[in-house]
């Protein structure tokens, strides 16, 4: 069975357990080397915004979010949209050409996710998020530098 959820490279502080994604060499709060780890591309929205005058090279409106991934890392990413989105909402993260997007998981997606985690097949979650991310991707004028 193919992997259904994006795996994201991360690092963990052996002293305070802060998880950084993408990985960092040192913990931002401790002068200790981080241990490589991985986190799963699903999590909860910590906060989100829609920028109406984004910098050059980005299309308006630009949806941004910080998502707390399973495994503990807080992750900065783009999104397809924020309509109806709430803090704490479950989202999936997907990379398109090295740029990460979040997309909102509906009730059915979450149910499938539950079954997948329980050991059943449910790779449609990935298909759904991938198609959402692709739609965003088509709308982009140009990749960020």
């Amino acid at each position: 069975m193919p992997a259904v959820i994006e795996t994201i490279a991360a690092s963990r502080c052996p002293r305070c357990n802060l998880v950084a994604a993408p990985p960092t060499a040192y913990c931002p709060n401790h002068p200790v080397a981080m241990t490589p780890t991985e986190v799963q591309g699903i999590g909860e929205v910590v906060s989100f915004t829609t920028l109406h005058s984004p910098p050059e090279g980005f299309r308006s409106p630009l949806h941004l979010a910080i998502v707390e991934l399973e495994g503990g890392a807080r992750f900065f990413c783009h999104g397809a949209g924020t309509r109806g989105l709430k803090i704490g909402a479950a989202v999936a993260i997907e990379a398109v050409d090295d740029v990460y997007y979040f997309s909102h998981l509906g009730a059915i997606d979450r149910a499938r996710l539950f079954w997948r985690r329980a050991g059943h097949a449910g790779d449609r979650v990935n298909a759904i998020t991938r198609s959402l991310a692709k739609r965003v991707w088509k709308g982009r004028t140009r990749a960020p530098r």
């Binding site: 802060l18 950084a20 993408p22 931002p28 709060n29 910590v46 906060s47 989100f48 915004t49 829609t50 920028l51 109406h52 005058s53 984004p54 910098p55 050059e56 090279g57 980005f58 630009l62 941004l64 979010a65 910080i66 807080r74 992750f75 900065f76 990413c77 783009h78 924020t82 803090i87 740029v99 960020p144 530098r145």
Partner: protein
């Protein structure tokens, strides 16, 4: 550690200025030196956030010193993004307190209005973590993320946020040095253009030119620097567990109050870094001036207005006085000194003995709290 006093203050009118940056800084510096009765200071601390990009000049400490006729006076430049002015005051304080100098000129300034807004945003945005910037993060977008989180369960709603801007514009209308001198209504703020949802245009400070200066001395004067402290946090917003309170402010306030030997209850007036209106609410709680969750209600009730029990940003704040980056942290001290010495004209408060100035660098990565006391 010796006591440190403020001997003189000065600032330019803030706004769209045609003069070169060094002339703005000279204007502020000369005013402060004249008031202090100091012809030549022992040392100079210059604050500019990014003169290389904004005006195309570098080696800016020597640039300013030579322009002022102080080519022989030791000068350094200090930079901590948008709190550079406060950092310069700290550096000057340390020189006097340590006995390295008896008179130090601090002068901060920035000139940006000659550049297009996207270019200014891009230059300021370089103070953001590179990974987050790669995703299009600007200061308003990070502030938008903070604000969205603040709107859930912190006693803050759209009206509380908007009232900060209404109050600060009303104060700015009384300040001849302010960039904006007109009042705005709650409805105008609530109806203004969305910038970074839920932040609107009238929640955000303007792009301004200006300069401010103070002279710190070892000899006894009317105002003493009672305490000063710095606090720091991660460059990346995503590495913080808490978005709605700034660790850098809490640490700075702790250090400043510890040095002063008194608590927030002694503070009569505060100048708070309101680059974005909700930051005033967050910072009032982080500095301990108001209990957690109470700043929104206190603002709506008028407690922080000029005639309230804790006037906040009598100058108009960054919102209305304007935000010429490295000038701001110094301009806050100027306003505090004017209030403590009864020279704030039509915005003068009643009896005040202790003033607090609070400055945020970047997205709260390098913050400062300074306490001034009528000696």
């Amino acid at each position: 550690m010796s006591d440190v006093f403020v001997a003189g203050v000065g600032m330019t009118r803030v706004g769209r200025r045609s003069e070169p940056l060094r002339d703005l800084m000279a204007e502020a510096a000369h005013t402060a030196l004249a008031e202090a009765g100091v012809e030549t200071p022992d040392s100079i601390v210059v604050a500019t956030m990014n003169p290389e990009e904004f005006v195309g000049d570098g080696n800016f400490a020597s640039h300013v010193a030579s322009h002022l006729g102080f080519a022989e006076v030791p000068a350094v430049r200090v930079e901590t993004a948008t709190s550079s002015g406060a950092a310069a005051v700290y550096a000057a304080f340390a020189q006097v307190a340590a006995g390295l100098a008896r008179t130090v000129l601090v002068v901060g300034g920035e000139k940006m209005t000659h550049l297009a807004t996207p270019r200014v945003s891009e230059i300021i945005g370089r103070s953001i973590d590179p990974y987050e910037r790669r995703y299009g993060a600007t200061m308003p977008s990070l502030a938008g993320l903070v604000t969205r989180a603040l709107l859930t369960g912190h006693g803050v709603g759209p009206r509380e946020m908007a009232q900060v801007a209404v109050k600060n514009h009303a104060n700015g209308a009384r300040n001849p040095y302010a960039h904006f001198r007109q009042a705005v209504t709650l409805e105008e703020v609530l109806d203004s253009r969305m910038v970074a949802d839920p932040l609107r245009l009238l929640h955000c400070c303007p792009i301004s030119d200006g300069a401010a200066a103070v002279v710190l001395v070892a000899d006894r004067r009317a105002v003493r620097v009672a305490g000063i402290g710095q606090g720091a946090d991660t460059l990346a917003l995503r590495h913080r567990r808490e978005l709605t309170s700034f660790r850098a402010t809490r640490a700075a306030a702790r250090a400043a109050f510890a040095m002063a030997g008194f608590g927030p209850e002694r503070v009569d007036v505060a100048e708070i870094h309101d680059a974005f209106a909700p930051f005033e609410l967050i910072s009032l709680e982080d500095t301990g001036l108001l209990p957690p969750g109470k700043a929104g209600r206190a603002t709506l009730d008028g407690d922080t207005a000029l005639e309230g029990r804790l006037p906040v940003n009598p100058s108009g704040g960054l919102k209305a006085r304007g935000h010429p980056l490295a000038a701001t942290g110094v301009a806050q001290i100027v306003e505090c000194v004017w209030q403590l010495t009864g020279r704030a004209a039509s915005r003068q408060l009643g009896a005040c003995r202790v003033a607090l100035a609070h400055s945020i660098g970047g997205l709260a990565t390098n913050n400062w709290v300074t306490l001034l006391e009528a000696a």
